[in-house]
């Protein structure tokens, strides 16, 4: 067991620590940085992160509170819109808007000028950051007690005073929402890469990409910018921890009594409906209708259709590998080894703080030499996808696996059941539903993944994200729209088939006896 744990840690270090160390050590070893011009990129990215955080924190906290405390159609619609925003890649939404702006009248309008600049970036960033902010803030409100509001009512505290108290109590949720929204915005690559405003408004993630994938190439400069990106995420996380520590106990505690969900009042219903229409209309419907409109019109020279099957294959492979490694990690973590659990948590936390762009940049440098000449191969791309997806896979499976009673496995061993029976008929049967959802989520994330794909794809074998953005860059919007919509349709089809298969499998008559 000790050997297995050591080997697993070595594998994870090889996947995360080695490439990141190779990349991040470059500025420390180089004589000069030469990134003076990129203070603007850093400043812009920080400014956008703060603005989006400031928008997403109160909005996200308010929506999270509505989702946790109110019921009804508007609340369910809000939940659906947030999931759609969460699942749709930022660059696909941006492509939809670019299609809208191919109309000269719209492009040259005040709205067009406004959108194709800083305001458009803030809007698109906010749309992508809001679901994260809401999901994080929901955790706080889910545990909130009704005791305080009941006490305020009993004591006759004025509505404005109650609102103020509620706002103060919601601070931890808002801090968490602010942090996650700001970090997501700092690390977002697809939106600035697609919107085409980075020449006027430099953005940190795109500046890193430019240094790695356009001329002139500058690995040291890219590595220095990666440091800034990581440090900014760490600073934001520290800020959130400080707020969390200061205000945590006020809202959530062990004896919290949860109230039943209530129908919203008239004013709340109006506000909720307005929010759903705004988010659903501008965030989802407008760009998706634009994509559908262009996709249905004739496309004279449709290219890169093979990217769909290729990326689906990459997604399936990377998701399967990530889940297999995740299960191994979680199984080995169940022992009593403190150092293993601590090392693992450290590795995974570090990897989650590092966006795909930096991981991809690390792989470019680490695997392009005489000893490990993997750069430019599909193998490296799949390894990078797997490494990037691993923390999410562990988080998704960890909760499900923790609910499996260890006595089940012990009992199966006592009855001398074969390994295959224990693994497939007992553990897999119990884990298959969360496992399938985690697998599908990773397949979808890999299929539409952009930064790692841009940096590591095999020349001549474009993944889906690269094909869509390349089509965007050449104003071939029909092609981009078709690829995006077909990719989504394939994922929906895959999910439908596998979910139906799972239902069939779980309803299959149980085997009558199990041979010892």
């Amino acid at each position: 067991m000790r050997l297995l744990r050591g080997l697993l840690l070595a594998l994870l270090a090889f996947l995360f620590i080695y490439p990141l160390a190779r990349l991040l050590s470059l500025p420390l070893l180089a004589a000069g940085g030469g990134v003076s011009g990129n203070w603007l990129a850093l400043g812009n990215s920080v400014a956008f992160a703060l603005v989006v955080g400031a928008i997403a924190a109160p909005a996200g906290a308010a929506m999270a509170q509505a989702l946790e405390t109110r019921s009804g159609f508007a609340v369910r619609a809000l939940g659906l819109v947030l999931w759609l925003l969460f699942l749709t890649p930022g660059y696909v939404l941006t492509t939809g808007w670019l299609i809208i702006f191919t109309s000269p009248a719209v492009r040259n309008s005040l709205f067009g000028h406004w959108f194709l600049g800083a305001a458009g970036l803030v809007f698109l960033y906010s749309m992508k950051a809001l679901p994260f902010a809401v999901f994080v803030a929901r955790a706080t409100f889910a545990q909130a007690s009704t005791a305080l509001s009941e006490a305020a009512l009993v004591l006759g505290v004025s509505p404005w005073r109650r609102l103020g108290l509620n706002l103060r109590l919601a601070l931890p949720a808002m801090a968490a929402a602010f942090t996650i929204a700001a970090i997501e915005t700092m690390q977002e690559f697809g939106i600035p890469a697609t919107l085409g405003v980075t020449a006027k408004i430099p953005i940190l993630t795109y500046a890193i990409y430019q240094r790695l994938n356009t001329t002139p190439t500058d690995f040291t400069g890219a590595a220095l910018l990666c440091w800034w990106l990581i440090l900014s995420a760490v600073l934001l996380a520290l800020l959130q921890m400080a707020v969390q520590r200061r205000y945590q106990a006020a809202l959530t505690h062990g004896r919290a009594r949860h109230g039943a969900k209530r129908a919203p009042g008239r004013l709340q219903y109006t506000a909720l409906t307005f929010t759903v229409v705004l988010l659903g209309g501008l965030g989802i419907a407008a760009p998706l209708f634009a994509l559908c409109g262009v996709a249905l019109s004739p496309v004279p020279d449709m290219r890169n259709l093979d990217a769909l099957a290729r990326s689906l294959g990459y997604g399936v492979l990377a998701a399967s590998l990530a889940l297999m490694v995740a299960i191994t990690v979680l199984k080995l973590q169940q022992g009593r080894s403190f150092w293993f659990a601590a090392a693992l948590q450290g590795l995974l936390a570090a990897n989650m703080a590092v966006p795909g762009l930096i991981l991809g940049a690390g792989y470019v440098i680490a695997f392009n030499n005489d000893y490990l000449p993997l750069y430019g191969t599909a193998l490296l791309l799949i390894i990078a996808y797997t490494a990037g997806a691993l923390p999410v896979a562990i988080r998704l499976l960890g909760t499900a696996l923790a609910q499996l009673d260890s006595k089940l496995s012990e009992a199966a061993r006592i009855f001398a059941l074969p390994l295959a029976t224990r693994a497939i008929d007992i553990e897999a049967a119990l884990l298959i539903q969360p496992g399938l959802y985690a697998w599908l989520l990773v397949v979808a994330a890999v299929m539409f993944e952009l930064p790692v794909s841009e940096l590591l794809y095999v020349p001549g074998q474009m993944p889906l994200g690269v094909a869509i953005v390349s089509a965007d860059m050449m104003a071939r919007y029909g092609e981009a729209a078709r690829l995006a919509l077909l990719g989504m349709a394939m994922l929906v089809g895959l999910a439908a088939v596998l979910t139906a298969g799972l239902r069939l499998l779980t309803n299959w008559p149980a085997e009558k006896s199990v041979a010892p």
Binding site: P104, G196, D370, Y375
Partner: protein, 338 residues
């Protein structure tokens, strides 16, 4: 039954893994192509000789970045793109083989484009930057480069990003050269920026902006302008004086085996054959609108400007190639306001 399903699932995953990761038996020559006719020519070469050529299409900026990133571990053998300056810059970094066979029957113009050490060969040329404009919104184009900063063109001119678009650095270098060289010409480019110059990724994006009326005049490669004007009514082309010659060049990676070098040499000769040049013109989309550099080549396609009426100039590839990184970095900072 569950075991059968599990077995089937793993078999499917294994099948996908084999399909995705199985190495190609013999990939032959890998051609990094920044020109539209690359795949068609590669297919024709394979059909005739049986030598497989895997054409990899990339934007020239990405193509050059990949070559630099791979350094001494190239996974390409031949690259074909616009810009002798970029080839000279790669050569200065020691990334190119020398002594490539010069094409037969070169015209005097073609002879003048050969590199001294045989690091690249010309296969034709276009012009790095011409003006294409919408006469309905811009009555008269600039008379020349020096008129671009005039008030009449404030906020209506767009060009490509030289870090992504291959033909654009030579155009930018040409503008600088015309304005006194480097760094003396900086003031002229700064005045363009002050006059509201727009920048888009590549030829297609700049022309799409022209079509969407975001700009009224685009400075793009001549082939892109001619192709666009032929397929969209109402646009006119003006060629500034001087117009900067942009050779499309072919280069070879270092460290190839004898057999690969021999195959590469056959490919380089193949692309210059008259019948293959016709194929390049027919299958090359916008890039098919080039001027040949061999005496036995077919005539340029109809609709192209009359070269005898154009005042052309050629940049020193070694000089401007050595400045490419510096100028591109400076230009990116200028455009972003950093």
């Amino acid at each position: 039954m569950r075991k059968i399903f599990a077995g089937l699932f793993f078999a499917v995953i294994a099948g996908i893994a084999v399909f995705v990761l199985w190495p190609a038996p013999d990939s032959g020559l890998v051609l990094y192509s920044g020109v539209d006719y690359g795949p068609a020519v590669a297919a024709a070469f394979t059909k005739e000789t049986g030598i497989k050529v895997n054409s990899v299409d990339l934007a020239t900026g990405s193509l050059l970045a990949r070559i630099v990133a791979q350094g001494q571990h190239p996974d390409w053998q031949i690259a074909w793109f616009d810009g002798a300056t970029a080839a000279a810059a790669l050569d200065a970094d020691g990334l190119l083989a020398h002594g490539l066979p010069a094409p037969q029957n070169l015209t005097p113009a073609g002879q003048s484009m050969l590199s001294a050490d045989g690091a690249y060969i010309p296969t034709g040329f276009t012009l790095a930057g011409v003006f294409i404009y919408d006469p309905a919104r811009l009555a008269a184009p600039p008379a020349g480069w020096s008129n671009l900063p005039d008030a009449a063109f404030k906020g209506v001119v767009g060009m490509n990003d030289p870090s992504i678009s291959g033909p654009t650095y030579p155009m930018l270098a040409g503008m600088l050269s015309n304005a006194g060289g480097w760094p003396q010409g900086q003031g002229f480019v700064q005045s363009l920026k002050a006059n509201g110059l727009h920048m888009f990724a590549k030829n297609d994006a700049t022309l799409a902006a022209l079509q969407a009326q975001a700009i009224s005049l685009a400075i793009v490669q001549s082939s892109a302008a001619v192709y666009f004007a032929m397929h969209h009514e109402g646009y006119k082309i003006a060629v500034p004086a001087p117009a900067y010659v942009l050779p499309n060049v072919m280069v070879e990676a270092t460290g190839l085996s004898e057999r690969q070098r021999s195959d590469a040499a056959r490919f380089m000769a193949f692309v210059m054959r008259p019948d293959i040049q016709k194929l390049r013109q027919a299958q090359g989309e916008a890039d098919g609108d080039y001027w040949p550099v061999t005496q036995d080549a077919p005539a340029p396609l109809p609709g192209m400007p009359d070269l005898s009426q154009i005042k052309t100039a050629t940049l020193d590839p070694a000089l401007w190639g050595s400045l490419e990184d510096q100028i591109n970095s400076w230009f990116a900072k200028l455009m972003s306001g950093a």
